[in-house]
Amino acid sequence: MDLLKRIKDRAPEYDAIHESLITKFTLVQGGRAGTSTDESAWEQGKYFSTKYEIYMYAALLGLKNDYRVPFSKDAKKEKFMEIRSWQPPKLVDYVMMCLLAKSDIDFNELEKMEEAEVEKQILAYRKLLEEYANGGFDKIRAKMEAEPGFFDSNDNCFIDLLDLK
């Protein structure tokens, strides 16, 4: 059975409260597959061409800082593209790897599990991805609140943010 395929068939979700942040920095429509070029996207102040880019960025930010934020009970969730369509594949696999490293899943035990149990583990894994991404988004939001100029007057903001502790 293909574990990665099963994981990648899932479409993770994000908390709708981050929608404006995502829209601010992401070329939500007319992205790379659309009419916009990298250059015009840049001119519009968009650092990410697609939602999965900012999502991966957020997830990695959360992972690096080991900061995950569970969704609140009444959170309105937004679904987007299944992981299998994310690019570039090497980077996506790396993110998957990081999450497996951070998860409680015992690989040896996993292989012995019944189908239903495996499904449960994959669900938990997806939740972990969502919580780390949520953590990452929260970090970006906090930075924006604490230092509004950071994103407006610095073209390297998201590169610099990688060093955020």
């Binding site: 574990l3 990665l4 992972l63 690096k64 690019q87 980077l91 490293a101 990688l162 060093d163």
Partner: protein, 727 residues
Amino acid sequence: MIIKKIELDNFMCYAGNGNCIEFSEGINVIIGDNGYGKSKLYDAFYWVMHDQVFSPEKKAFETTKSAKANLISDKAKAEIENGRLSAAVKITFHNLEKDSVYILERRYSITVTDGKIQEDNDGEFTIMEKELSYLNARMVTDVDRKRMIVNSILPPQIKDYLWFQGEQVESIIDFNQKDTLTKAVNVLSNISRYDSMIEIAEAAAKAAAKEYDTDLRRLSKDSAKSAVLETRRLELEKKIYRQKEEEREVSDNLARAEARCEELLNKQADAKKVSVLQERKRGVVGRLELLNKELKKEQVNFHRKMFHSHWVLKGTEDMLKLYANKFSEYEKKKLLQEAEEKVRKEMEDEVDAKLQTRLPINVPEPNYVEWMLEKERCLVCDREAKKETEAWLKIKELLDRPKEKKKASKEVAVVPLDFSGDLKSLYQNGVALESRIEDIDSDINDALQQRSNLQGNVREVNKEMGAIELDIQRLLADTALTSEGAENILNEYSIQNKKAKDFKDDWSRITHDIAESERLLKEVNDERRDLVTGALPAWLVEKKEVTSDFEIIAKTTRDRVFNNLITQLEQEANKHYQDMTLGNKSARGIIKLRKQTNGNYMPEIIDSNGNPLLGLNTSNIILVKLSAIMAIISAKGNSGDLYTLITDAPTSVFGEDYTIGFCKTISKVYQQSIIMSKEFYKNQELKNELLKNPDIKIGRVYTITPSIVEGERADRSNLSTKIEALN
């Protein structure tokens, strides 16, 4: 004659009665910033003398008839509900020699009824005269006397050189207009008298020639041939006349083109500089565009590298280690489990093998064993094996084991799950990226360095562009050119140059043709003379020669007088030019009035070696013109002592550097001058020099200040002007 004072009642911004400015000999200066009322004061002088005021909207002078109530202060109009209201300006002139006084007053009135204005159609102009200043004034009623007084105060032929506004200087002396200089020369001496003399001489010569021709015909031995030659002569003379007309036209055109070339040549050096700078600017702009494009690309790439070059993985090395450990544990455990399973299997196989050897060979095992179980006896060792005893169970085991084994092997075939492939590929992917992650920092630094280099280049080029732009602006300000104007000058210069060359070619052709026609005419005349039998009367020959000489003398005398006057004008202008430019570092040179092919004169500035100075700026050109204006007055002997110079903002067209030089010069040329100026308003140092410089004969100095600043004058109903004496 000097102006003693001007009194203004409700004239434009000079609201109220009793606005009086007194003047003395020397330079009288009215200081005020833009919009403070200087030009209105100039208008007041002009209005009295010419019944006209300058309309800034129409950019032309308008008469009292059309200006009407605009002449009257808005404040005064706002304050009156009913009654009659006038704007009046009174100027008092004092003839110091005779101690006589003239008071010229112009007045314009309106009637206001319940705030409604009814305008008079015209103003009133009165002249009061006092033969001696202490006597009572009496009104001059005789029209001719009035005209004479006005003309004695401001003679019409020199009024343009006495009363003018700064911006008029360019047009007062327009050297491209042939009659400008003739007009100026006429002020110095009545040159037209010589023109009349030429006319008389020409007529006399013509009459004598006619008489001579008649006699030639009469004395001819071949009257038929003589008649033919006569016709030929007339034809040739007509032809020569036409050719000379043409020559005049071409030489006029040539002079015009040369003058324009000359004028453009002065500007051409500046225009070329501007053009070179513009070209350099275009180059820099192109470079800047490329650099900016590259920088933008670098910026975009910089961020795209977050994903393309996996920069986003910066600082995730620990997670790879974490996974590597977990994966290693998994693999180890999995290997162990597999090894254990193998051992177990081997052991089982061994047991089975052993069990198998204890069965008889070639016996169908299950049947044989079942038979033993039924018999409850081991047929191998022939011992009893009662049901459910240990021995019986051992035998039964022989039957069950293969089944279990079979079952077990079936279970092994259905391995529960195997994710090792995926887990391994994730690990391998991580390891493959490991070296990339290690390089991210230096990668980012390289990119930052690259971008910083580009930004540095952009800054450098921007700096270069700023410097060029500054040079261009300075040059444009100094030369009063525009970028477009500079290009036009270069284009026009080459056009005019080509025209001048063409006209010159035409001119050579025509002069050659004229010479040829004159040669033919001479031949005809000689031939006619050869036909004469007997002698022509001596008195007739002499008459013809004398009148011809008289014509030549009249023409050369006129030329000599004219040229002398030009030389005098040139000398005077140079004196003023040197005075005005003294103390200024920029190139000065000497004014030279160069004679053109059509007899006109064009000023040029030459250096001490006689070479024309190129690249003159507007200030230089204006100074030359002002020098010429002053020369016309000063070369006339005592004109400057007789009349007052009144000028509004004469110095605004050239730099402050020349202002003091200008003041010194006019104090030499004119007994009295009245100058409205803003230069002294802002520059305190200049004002101090004006008041203290011993070379300036200072008269009265005033500042004028409006009650409302210009920017806040939507409602002028409160506008008045404060006059304050500074000395």
